[in-house]
Amino acid sequence: MKKLGIILSGLMVVFYSCNSSEDIGPDLTDDLLEITTHAENDLNISIYAPEKLFVGYNEITVEIKDTDGHPVSGEISVVPMMDMTTMSHSCPLEADQNTFSAGIYNFNAVFVMPSGEMGSWSIDFTINGMEISVPVEVIAPERSRLVSFISTMDEETKYFVTLIGPKDPAVGKNDLEIAVFETQSMMLWPAVTTLEFEVEPWMVSMDHGSPNNVAPGHTEEGHYKGTVNFTMTGDWQIRLTMTENGEICGTPYFDLYFQ
């Protein structure tokens, strides 16, 4: 009986603490990793992502609160910037909304370089008229998820191809998603929507592919979706052949590994 009492009171503490947290919004750390928090101009800005920010396609959640911990709403704009001392540049960005509510704002950014000696990244916000720059760290993932190259067709266009999915690759059928951008200026990185692809997952160590893959086709905003199949666990390469108007403009590939 005594034991039960202890367990019950324990449960109540849990319930109580759950309830109390509702005022300050959902706990984003349930699914996401807190990347950084930044306080400026009476705002607390926290940046969340599924994993550490990396070179490639990042889905970022921003939590904006006032100093009392209450969620804020309003207008927002965002620009990731890399400062490389002699110059600075942005990167491909998917941030369509210019308002946010309940303290939450989502956007996607394709970091094109890792932070390091070459330079450092920040995410520059304008929130309700206030400019706030949040420095962030961008790492190079163990297996590259972004390939950049100059088109072999016109030898001019610089493409950035990023692997979005499969997020959790496994043996069998996997949804393939990639996104393609080009760089037109330091600040202008538009999506490329006119490409065609062929895909071949390849196991380099055994020199074999896999059957029944579906080449990624354009869906929207430079995103291309298809299917890749893996016949076994291990190190695979997703090999892409990228064409525009029937001419090959590049053959990017991504390495991935799963058990």
Binding site: G172, K173, S205, M206, P211, N229, T231, M232, T233, G234
Partner: protein
């Protein structure tokens, strides 16, 4: 196909049945078991009773007296049987050109499935001749009381302990030496009996090095070692009823498979069976109720090979549990009705882990048998009827329900690549019916006509196998869960002459397959195995046909001299009218047996025709003709204590370099070998 079925049902509806193969022997055994003064079955390596469903007793064939080293060698010279070699161990029996996919293999009625995706371990490899009491072989779709198949059945009957109150303890020791592989075998067999119970314990150890082929070349990776241990206990509950327990364990280790890219680290099998036998149980006469369990663990190994493209671990295992009830509903001079109801379920798992050579690359893994479950429930009946002393009809029918599925999510994901599913249960109902009419047209001679129809489910490899490399044609094979059953309409004509000094037996058969399961190349798929030529799917390919026959003649030339001639031939065509692969060419054997004063001399020759009808789909090459000569001498003698038998033989006297057409790879069979056999037993000859 429908016409096949209707035809089959027609046969059955005549309501005339089939007398069974093991039947007489079985009765005799039961009789003997209830007799106190039963004189034991001789415990030697050379007394196995061999029968087939046409009641042709092939033993007594003096050829069997020599070179009885292994079950493989024993089966090798049977009519209609060939042994497919992958090395010097665990050959795969082939019945009239059909390999193990198509026939049913069992040990004392216990179904058992090899655990190797590369067919390195047919159930026969776990059986030693010293444990064999009888060997039943039936061909095609003829009723066999074992299971549904399109190619026949093999049942290894285990040797039982003997009740013998006057001589309660019997011991046999046997040794073999084979020069070609420097192979030494030891075997021991002990039988002990009391009033109510009898026990038999046996052990075999065999070890061989690499053998030498007919070119004098050492065949690397052809070594093997194994231990086999078995025990059987019979307990008499009363005059009529008996409990019988059998256990067989077999551990092979370091077995080389020169024809394959991998060897075997170990292959371990354990079998347990418990039977209840009685005079009468409810409506059954001479019933047997049996439950059994067996399991096999198999571990392939390539670490001893000089050069491998990639190291791999390939373990596999199977577990089977089952039981059956069989007995006679009726047994009169005019007719007998035997029935059997059986059930077993089996689990298969095989996997493959590949280790890349480059550092920094991670191991790779796939399931080659994705946790397959299959349960089979069948009822079978055989009915034999004699119109009069000369006209006999034998009929049998079997209906079998087969349920198959896989339980691995990983395996299901593998199948998702091909938009297939294995988790969904698949049910097949199999029907086997056969009818045989025989006419004793004079005192010494009879002819028979058989019509039979059989069906089989795809094997686990054919249904669920995932990139199984076949060394023979060089392709990776994919199973197809949606394969349908294969059918065989089987016609056979037999003739038999039995005179005091002359025996002639002839059988001519035709098989008409429908939905014949065969690997078909898919150019859209890329190979998985390094060096493979591509990928084949197992498919139902429509019609295939096989024709052939066996002939054997035994002849008493003089009072102490006899001759035996035998021939076997198979012709096969696939769905395109092209030759089927692995078809044995014509083979003719002749042996003489001269005996005097306890001595036995036996020269024998084998001639095999060339095989030029080759399957291009299967990447076959033609095989040339060869001629072999063997000679054996044996002598039995009584000693102060017990008796002894000495055998000396020279196999492949002319050191011919040869391979059989159906052998895997280009490995040659053993060259000249001197075989020495010594056996001693505790009782007189």
């Amino acid at each position: 196909m429908k016409s096949f079925l209707i035809f089959g049902v027609l046969i059955w509806s005549i309501q005339l049945c089939f007398g069974q193969t093991g039947q007489e022997r079985y009765e005799a055994w039961l009789d003997s078991m209830t007799n106190d003064q039963y004189i034991g079955i001789q415990m030697e390596l050379d007394d196995v009773i061999i029968t087939d469903s046409a009641h042709r007793a092939h033993l007594g064939d003096p050829k069997m007296l020599m070179n009885m080293r292994s079950t493989d060698q024993l089966m090798h010279s049977l009519p209609g049987v060939n042994m497919v070699r992958r090395g010097n161990f665990a050959n795969e029996p082939m019945l009239r050109g059909l390999t193990s996919e198509r026939y049913v293999m069992s040990v004392d009625g216990m179904r058992m499935y090899g655990a190797c995706t590369d067919k390195m371990d047919p159930a026969s490899s776990y059986i030693e001749p010293i444990n064999l009491r009888n060997l039943d072989v039936s061909f095609g779709s003829q009723g066999n009381m074992m299971g549904a198949g399109t190619g026949g059945a093999i049942n290894f009957g285990l040797k039982k302990p003997v009740f013998n109150t006057t001589d309660p303890l019997r011991l046999t020791l046997a040794h073999n030496f084979s020069s070609v592989s420097r192979g030494f075998d030891q075997a021991m067999d002990v039988n002990y009996s009391r009033d109510k119970w009898a026990i038999r314990v046996s052990g075999v150890h065999r070890k061989a090095s690499n053998y030498t082929d007919g070119n004098g070349e050492e065949v690397r990776y052809s070594q093997f070692e194994k231990m086999n241990y078995a025990t059987s206990v019979n307990y008499r509950i009363n005059d009529g009823a008996m409990l019988a327990f059998d256990f067989v364990g077999d551990d092979a280790s370091d077995v080389g498979y020169p024809a394959l890219p991998m060897d075997v680290a170990f292959a371990k099998a354990k079998m347990f069976g418990l039977s209840y036998l009685d005079d009468k149980l409810w409506i059954l006469q001479e019933p047997e109720v049996k439950i059994y369990h067996n399991f096999i663990n198999h571990q392939m190994d390539d670490t001893h090979r000089d050069s491998v493209a990639m190291h791999m671990d390939m373990p596999g295992n199977t577990h089977t549990t089952g039981g059956f009830v069989r007995g006679f509903l009726q047994q009169t001079r005019k007719s007998t009705i035997e029935i059997k109801a059986d059930y077993h379920k089996t689990f298969w798992h095989a996997e493959m882990t590949m280790y890349p050579n480059e550092s920094g690359q991670q191991p790779m893994f796939m399931l080659t048998w994705p946790d397959v479950h299959r349960s089979i429930a069948g009822v079978e009946t055989a009915y034999s009827y004699s119109f009069n002393a000369r006209h006999h009809l034998l009929n049998s029918a079997r209906v079998e329900q087969v349920t198959s599925y896989i339980s691995s999510d990983f395996g299901e994901r593998q199948l998702s690549i091909f938009d297939k599913s294995g988790i969904k249960q698949r049910n097949n109902t199999l029907v086997n019916v056969s009818s045989r009419y025989s006419w004793d047209y004079n005192r010494n001679s009879s002819v028979s006509l058989s019509l039979a129809y059989g069906e089989r489910v795809p094997t686990v490899s054919e249904q669920y196998g995932f990139y199984l490399f076949n060394q023979q044609d060089g392709y990776d094979y994919l199973g197809d869960p949606d394969l349908t059953k294969e059918k065989n309409l089987h016609l056979e004509v037999g003739q038999k002459i039995t005179k005091p000094k002359l025996n002639i037996e002839t059988a001519v058969f035709a098989y008409f397959f429908d939905d014949y399961i065969f690997g078909i190349y898919d150019p859209n798929l890329s190979q998985m195995t390094i060096g493979a030529r591509g990928v084949k799917w197992y498919r139902n390919t429509g019609n295939a046909r096989m024709f052939g026959g066996e002939f054997s003649m035994g002849n008493q030339l003089m009072s102490s001299l006899s001759g035996a001639l035998s021939a076997k031939y198979v012709y096969g065509e696939d769905f395109e009218g092209k030759p089927l692969p692995q078809i044995p060419p014509l083979k003719i054997s002749y042996s003489l047996n001269q005996s005097f004063q306890g001595w036995n001399v036996q020269p024998a020759v084998d001639w095999s025709m060339a095989q030029n009808r080759i399957s291009e789909k299967f990447n076959e090459r033609s095989t040339s003709s060869f001629f072999l000569a063997n000679i054996g001498v044996s002598k039995g003698l009584n000693l102060g204590v017990g008796s002894m038998k000495i055998g000396l033989s020279v196999m492949n006297i002319f050191d011919v370099a040869y391979r059989e057409h159906f052998d895997i790879g280009s490995i040659l069979r053993p060259g000249r070998s001197l075989e020495v056999q010594l056996s001693w037993r505790s009782h007189k000859l």
